[in-house]
Amino acid sequence: MMFAITPHVRRKQRHETIAKWVFFGMAASMIVPLVLIIGYLVERAWPSLSLGFLIDVPARGMKEGGVWPALVGTIYLVVLSLAVSAPVGVLAAVYLNEYARDNWFNRIINLAVINLAGVPSIVHALFGLGAFVYAARFGYSIISASLTLAIMTLPVIIASTREALASVPRTFREACWNVGATRWQTIKAVVLPNSISGILTGIILQVSRAAGETAPIMFTGAVFFKAVQKGDFFPYRLHEQCMALSMHLYTLSTQVPGVKESVPFATAVLLLGAVILVNATAIILRGYLRARKKW
């Protein structure tokens, strides 16, 4: 049986096509700038992009040379901040997901986590300055800066870990409880192994966040310049300040006169590249998790 195509149907179909293309355009309009921007940055950065850029120290008043001290500084900050926020965040999520009952106190904790995630980075900077630099007397130092970053990444790690833990079916836990395991034994033997890739994904994503943040470290421990020898892997001590890639990009583009044009672009590309690399790792890990998941 055939229905005749009435004008009404035709209009309906036309609207459908228009709507589809409009929405497609809106979605595409996010990809296009991303591709254009990355392409432009890479093109401008091209003359400086080489291995030497990574391992050289800045030269001739930071006008030329590489980013080694800033790169090492960023690695210090990321590793230290995650060394604090990952264990605390994962354990906090374990508490919230496995131990906490649904009462007012735990609801306040939930609310706190959500709001901690929304606190502007500059307010974290104020907090880091007031709490770590002055009150705790850590001074302007790598410790202050990485603790500030740790607190900034904490809520997101809590949230992503909770999500990973919650995806483990309750029946798994019940099976384990029924053979006489305690709560912690259950968590250790069943819950954590089954959610580890999800937890890791969440932590890895915070690597790129910690590496990219500028405001919180600007006032707590990142320094304009520090003379470092080429190839020195441990140029900083923890009570000292360090250079950082994000801060370096900021100072290169606002403070340093006559800088070789491709150098700040290369620094931006390096930051972007690190972020994309980290995200790609996380995405692959997540894919692996999904493929392995059998429930």
Binding site: K12, H15, E16, A19, K20, F23, M26, A27, S29, M30, L91, A92, V94, Y95, N97, E98, A100, I108, I109, L111, A112, I114, N115, L116, G118, V119, P120, S121, I122, V123, A125, L126, F127, G130, A135, I151, L154, W177, N178, V179, G180, A181, T182, R183, W184, R209, G212, E213, T214, A215, M218, F219, M247, Y250, S253, A268, L271, V275, V278, N279
Partner: protein, 315 residues
């Protein structure tokens, strides 16, 4: 939430376990559980800590006779280092924050929601996954890189195409901020659409509705609170963003009259001046007070978004 049985599991085998488990094992488990509890409450400690420290540094200025809160909020005179007459009015910065955020939302909300609808309703499989990955990447670009793009790329484009005298202005900051807040609007918006039961879609399709009609008549009304939450979180992101607006908006203290005017935002003002304000000076304290204001603003916005999301879950 997985609440285990109210009593310890396997209560009857308790005696057996007590005999077989060494004491240090039981003790270390207890210690670990205390540690877990401490970490659990750390989140609340940190939030209170943030509020406490930021407020503590700001507090003394409120008792200062030279300082008036009304002037702080409603005066556009910002002279923190004047030798003749120090004035601390952040009204121009409040106007700056709102104008940049408003423009950003004007761009980001339609595009973000449109993209969310496309991802959720109009495409599937590979395309969907690809788009989601792109959005994730877009969200991960550090704000200092966005600021750098605004300062070097966008400002030149704006001067060339609009003839504006200066390329770092509200338009520049608004576009950058829009690109930064689109990902959050898309992902939360998509969640909201996903939360609409499939039976709604099936009912609509069974009545012969096209997908556009379905979106317009069924999904948007059903998901509107979730979409509101997405917009609110976008606003929260816009208000709190620092480095990008610091570099892209031109940093001028005045109340804007058009999108080609340069402005300064609350966040950028702190970032630019905090390093240079000697600790415990009035200037330093006023910057912390600005931090309290920002904290309160984002707290309200996030709380509202959270309540909205919670409302949906309960339904």
């Amino acid at each position: 939430m997985n609440t285990p049985p109210t009593s310890r599991p396997a209560e009857e085998s308790f005696a057996v376990r007590k005999a077989t488990r060494p004491a240090w094992d039981v003790l270390s488990e207890r210690a670990l559980e205390i540690l877990i509890y401490l970490c659990g409450i750390s989140a609340i400690v940190f939030v209170l800590g943030i509020f406490f420290f930021v407020f503590k540094e700001a507090l003394p200025i409120l008792g200062n006779s030279h300082f008036s809160l009304t002037q702080f909020l409603f005066s556009d005179q910002w002279y923190p280092t004047s030798e003749l007459n120090k004035r601390y009015g952040v009204f121009a910065m409040i106007a700056g924050t709102f104008s940049v955020t408003a423009l950003a939302m004007l761009i980001a909300v339609p595009f973000g929601l449109g993209a969310a609808i496309y991802i959720s309703e109009f495409c599937g499989g590979r395309t969907k996954e690809t788009l989601k990955v792109v959005i994730e990447l877009l969200a991960a670009i550090p704000s200092v890189v966005w600021g750098f793009i605004g300062l070097t790329v966008m400002s030149r484009l704006i001067v060339n195409y609009t003839g504006a005298p200066v390329g770092v202005n509200i338009l520049n900051g608004g576009i950058i901020l829009a690109l930064m807040s689109v990902p959050i609007i898309v992902s939360i918006g998509e969640d909201a659409l996903k939360a609409v039961p499939d039976s709604y879609r099936e009912a609509g399709l069974a009545l012969g509705a096209t997908r556009w009609q379905l979106v317009r008549r069924v999904l948007l009304p059903a998901a509107k609170t979730g979409l509101l939450a997405a917009v609110l979180l976008g606003v929260g992101r816009g208000v709190g963003e620092t480095m990008a607006v610091l570099m892209a908006t031109g940093h001028a203290v005045h109340i804007p009259h058009g999108i080609f005017d340069s402005v300064r935002t609350l966040t950028a003002n702190i970032a630019a001046e905090l390093g240079e304000a000697p600790a415990n000076s009035d200037h330093y304290r006023v910057l912390f007070l600005t931090g309290v204001l920002l904290f309160a603003l984002t707290f309200i916005v996030n709380l509202a978004a959270d309540l909205v999301v919670r409302g949906i879950r309960r339904r």
